[in-house]
């Protein structure tokens, strides 16, 4: 018998719970850390970004309206399904980031643990950042955090799995929906992550994953009038581009999580900032004794 023919994959985007090809029809070659061909990934265009924003907007009402408890369950479920597909994640991380098997294993552990950690925050964040304010009058005065809306996320370029989870989970756990542009050179962990999302009770449209260039798609998301916030982590160190995107984002007063000078160490405790970056505080005054 001949050697078995390789199944050469062309991965697709993840928009609105479905896996479409890029509207442009373009794809690009993905190589492993040593430059060897691994697979083709869809090259998302601005129109894919537009479609993803529509899907995210559509999903926002339902997702933000769910109980925090239910969102926690769903995030935990993502972690469960990731655990089931651990070998695939280990392999993808190893290939894309050039890690040893042991290190890749550890990264996957961290990613899954981070999801579980954020899942736990779903029904606690309100108590921590919300407040009953003392005011000089006969009022109950309550401040509560609410999700910002549709968040565009430029995911980290280096850390293709742990970094991705570390920017997506804090945005969705509080009820936002996201449009993610994955790492350009290392998109495959994101593709596998999207397959996990599709099978873990996450409603379609809550997370939309585009594989492609942050420099190409970023400006369209930054200027999009129906995007409420943008996370620029994925263009860490690219000061000129980051400035352009911040200027574009100002048009509709988007929340901007600014690009760091260099990609952060994702193994550190993230703290609350990744969640509070995409929360709006609503304060309600209610008369006492009425």
């Amino acid at each position: 018998m001949n050697a078995r023919i390789d199944v050469r994959k062309t991965y697709k985007l993840y928009i609105g719970g479905a896996f479409p090809r890029s509207e442009s029809g373009h794809s690009y070659e993905v190589a492993d850390s040593k430059g060897k061909f691994v697979a083709n990934a869809a090259l998302a265009s601005r129109k894919d970004a537009r479609d993803a924003v529509v899907a995210a907007r559509k999903a926002f009402g339902g997702w933000s309206g769910r109980t925090a408890y239910n969102r926690a369950q769903i995030l935990y479920r993502i972690a469960e399904v990731m655990e089931d597909r651990r070998p695939q994640f280990v392999q993808a991380t190893q290939q894309s980031e050039g890690l040893s098997a042991a290190k890749a294993d550890k990264v996957v552990d961290e990613a899954i643990d981070r999801l579980v950690w954020y899942a736990g925050w779903a029904d606690k964040i309100t108590q921590v950042v919300g407040n009953a304010n003392p005011v000089a009058g006969p009022f109950f005065n309550l401040s509560t955090p609410e999700p910002t809306g549709v968040v565009a996320v430029l995911a980290p370029q280096e850390s293709s799995l742990l970094g991705l989870v570390s920017v997506v989970a804090p945005a969705i756990v509080t009820g936002n929906t996201v449009v993610v542009v994955s790492s350009y050179d290392r998109p495959l962990p994101a593709v596998t992550f999207s397959e996990v999302l599709a099978t873990s009770d996450v409603p379609g449209g809550v997370v939309n994953i585009l594989t492609g260039s942050a420099a190409t798609i970023g400006p369209w998301l930054a200027s999009h009038m129906d995007v409420n916030a943008i996370d620029l982590t994925g263009i860490a160190g690219e000061t000129a581009l980051a400035t352009d995107l911040e200027v574009a984002a100002a048009d509709n007063l988007k929340r901007v999580r600014r690009a760091p000078a260099a990609e952060p160490d994702w193994t550190l405790d993230p703290g609350l900032e990744p969640m509070t970056a995409f929360l709006e505080i609503k304060t309600v005054w209610h008369p006492i004794g009425v």
């Binding site: 537009r50 924003v53 907007r57 369209w220 200027s223 999009h224 009038m225 129906d226 995007v227 574009a248 048009d251």
Partner: protein, 323 residues
């Protein structure tokens, strides 16, 4: 009126009796269903970009019959819709106004009051819309009522039950009667659009037959659907109707308009229809007098695309009125 009268004469032989009408309608060449679907799908792949797209979007906006046909319609909502029809994009004075506002007959006066002499027409659905299940007298009274209230256009529904059971003469006579009821005291006549509800006609052959029946009876426009039945307007159905109006003009010299309604939601869909109008019926039909979109949500989509073309960034539903 004279054109219609002469058309009645032209087809006097055909429309003389139930039997001759059936012979004519069933003698029309059958529609190649697979071919029609493929042709419509093929035309849908044309790429319309840059300046052509700007032109198409503005044309599509001018062709919209902005519609609200809900039990919960209030005078306030109709006034809001009428205001939107005159100035679809308040932020951009260069945005054209739509063709008409389409309402139930009891709302015609309200719409007319707001629209006044803006040039935006008022269309009223009449004849026991959407089912068409009422006695002829009632349908005619419904029509006269709307015309008296000031409707410029009447959207009537055909009796699908009669059509499907082969009582073509009855359908024909009803259209003729409603057409007469559209006459105003000053000698003018409201334009008559005849709705087939193609989603209930079962076959493309029936769509072709209904088109000819309505055109021979004096329709000014033929319209796919009420919007209350799924599937509503589709590309292949509209293609068949466009072929019918094209052939009718070849035979009689009279131009009839076409209006797909229901289910057209995106700017891209609207442009597909415009491509088809141009390719099948011809550029003469690329005018709000001869082609309309019956829609409500479509307008915001068109406005968003238009804003994208002028500002270079994607817009969102937050920046347009809800309707």
């Amino acid at each position: 009126m004279t054109a219609t009268a002469s058309n009645l004469d032209l087809y006097a032989e055909v429309t003389r009796s139930e039997a001759s009408l059936r012979r004519f309608l069933h003698g029309l060449p059958g529609v190649d269903q697979v071919g029609a679907d493929a042709r419509a799908a093929g035309l849908g792949t044309r790429s319309i970009k840059t300046s052509a797209k700007v032109y198409a979007l503005d044309l599509a906006i001018r062709m919209v019959d902005l519609t609200t046909l809900e039990g919960q319609d209030t005078p306030g909502k109709v006034r809001a819709l009428a205001s939107k029809a005159m100035r679809p994009d308040p932020a951009d004075p260069s945005c054209p106004q739509v063709a008409a506002v389409c309402v139930y007959p009891d709302m015609v006066a309200t719409a007319k009051e707001t629209l006044d002499s803006s040039g935006v027409h008022v269309a009223a659905v009449a004849t026991a819309f959407p089912s068409g299940r009422a006695a002829l007298d009632i349908k005619l009274a419904d029509t006269r009522d709307a015309v008296e209230a000031g409707a410029d256009e009447i959207d009537m529904v055909i009796d699908r039950g009669a059509f499907l059971s082969g009582r073509y003469q009855q359908v024909f006579d009803e259209i003729v009667a409603v057409k007469q009821a559209c006459a105003r005291s000053n000698g003018e006549s409201a334009h008559l659009k005849v709705i087939f509800e193609t989603g209930e006609l079962q076959t493309y052959d029936n769509v072709r037959r209904a088109s000819w029946l309505a055109m021979m009876a004096g329709a000014d426009f033929i319209k796919t659907s009420t919007g209350k039945v799924q599937p509503a307007a589709t590309l292949p159905v509209t293609l068949i109707m466009l072929e019918a109006v094209r052939d009718f003009r070849e035979q009689t010299g009279t131009m009839i308009g076409v209006k797909p309604a229901g289910g057209i939601r995106t700017a891209k869909d609207a442009i597909k229809y415009l491509v088809m109008v141009n390719e099948i019926a011809g550029p003469d039909w690329l005018d709000p007098d001869w082609f309309r979109f019956g829609a409500s949500t479509l307008l915001n989509e068109l406005l968003m695309q238009r804003t994208k073309m002028t500002t270079g960034r994607y817009s969102g539903p937050d920046y347009f009125t809800l309707d």
